[in-house]
Symmetry: C2
Subunit: 319 residues, 2 copies
Amino acid sequence: MTTTARFDPRDFRQALGRFATGVTIVTTRAADGTPVGMTANSFNSVSMNPPMVLWSLARSARSLPAFTQATHWNVHILANDQEALSNRFAKAGEDKFTGLALDNSPGGAPLIPDCSARFQCRTAFQYEGGDHIIFVGEVMDFDRSERAPLVFVTGGYALATRLAGDISTAPQAQTDAAPYSENLLGYLLGRAHYQFMAGFRPTLEARGLSETDFFILSLLAVRSPLTAAEIASHMAYTGVDVGAATLGRLCTRGLLSAGEAGFELSPQGRDDILHVMAAAKAREAELLDQMGPLEAASLRNLLKRLIAVSDPGLPPLWA
Amino acid sequence: MTTTARFDPRDFRQALGRFATGVTIVTTRAADGTPVGMTANSFNSVSMNPPMVLWSLARSARSLPAFTQATHWNVHILANDQEALSNRFAKAGEDKFTGLALDNSPGGAPLIPDCSARFQCRTAFQYEGGDHIIFVGEVMDFDRSERAPLVFVTGGYALATRLAGDISTAPQAQTDAAPYSENLLGYLLGRAHYQFMAGFRPTLEARGLSETDFFILSLLAVRSPLTAAEIASHMAYTGVDVGAATLGRLCTRGLLSAGEAGFELSPQGRDDILHVMAAAKAREAELLDQMGPLEAASLRNLLKRLIAVSDPGLPPLWA
């Protein structure tokens, strides 16, 4: 650890940023009825009985008078897809509430829809906290949804995923017994890939398609026509060597047609790949349903990062 | 959203749990010098100038007198591998500090090593907060490490991973143009798997090993001897059909030896697989270095979950 003798504000902020938080928008109405709101991550729970929460606001904030005079305010815990809303309410001066279908709050403060949870509060205390005021509110009502919450940590937005099993960022211990462990990423990727495929391989086999056939048909389903050389360059990273013989066989079977611009799917080939993809999507839905939507989004996110850092320079597939 | 008219404490807790937090341990010394500490996630930053933080403690907590009488306390933001420490300090009655190499804090409060960040505080205010007391401390010193922080959300520990690109838990939009998108999990898994393998395929080729050869050798490197039937049953989910001809060819090439109990690696086979695995591990290190340790841990975590939910009932590989 680096001990910081003097207080550099940036250093202090970075140290505070090690504490993960959710992201909230706190709203109230000014004395003239104008809706006021701002993004805050200084929220936390305080008391169960009476139910109380707190958050703090800079003395220099433009919205300070509205909040110090208000008897009621609402805290909205943002969902993982409300990053844009968080950014909108973090900036000054805009008409932040434009386009929002506000719900009614008995206390009068604006109530924003589609959040992960919401707390309607009555001001209980306002306390001094250095250059901030600490607002403690009694929770008069609350609700929550199944939307997974947004997370803010080390200066950026994040997704949180529940820990499953033995996970550590420490270096992998190596035993003498085996040359690799079940933590080897290559093993996990291969096993996950093949187990996923095993769920729709019967559909491939029913249509007499090999894995190589499947790769070629699914490539041409997204991008066609492609020349033999283009198909080979799209496929090389899989280790499958697609040559004239393979493409000729698929033409003979009536799955591809060859024109001047290259190969494309025949109606039969398109029908085959649509059925295989339907089976792949059913497999995906079944597995993601068991994993949960946030884990699914995180897994996609991390696979995309891995693909980006391991990309051998593949031509883009989607326009 | 489900509006909750009456306040069920469990409902209220679940709604509060939508707000993600880090996990801290707050420590002090009782009047008799005994070290006191407890896990808290009610921490947050308050003020930049003067630097101040806050947390709250139940009036019913056994450690309340120690904290109300203390002039100094330390807040430790736990790292992602300190879940056990969090659990230890969340329970009452144990000698929580046993075995910890405590650092010195000028204020006298215990300072726990290996955290993500630490704040050494002097009590500034103690405020009423319903059934809790809110402690506001002036930060006298702080430090931080590069250890990624632990996250607590919706009632459990979690890892947070930075968002990379367009991620949403909303249902995938389907365009008419292509039968699948780059969000199809099967596509992402396949592409990540093959791009990973592409990084060490030259090592396979240099040793004249096909992908099937590689799968068989790596299986026997972890578990052997195995009969032909056992090898086939371990491999079936990959779609690779391992029969007597393939195994016989590997024996002829001197990579396997066949005994009464089944097949095992020959010295040459073991040498080959060790070299291939070294290349795979180098590939892993290179990619994970670009992704970062926390993303790597999260990716492993999520792949393990996917493997668990898609497991066709494979025999366990590691004892």
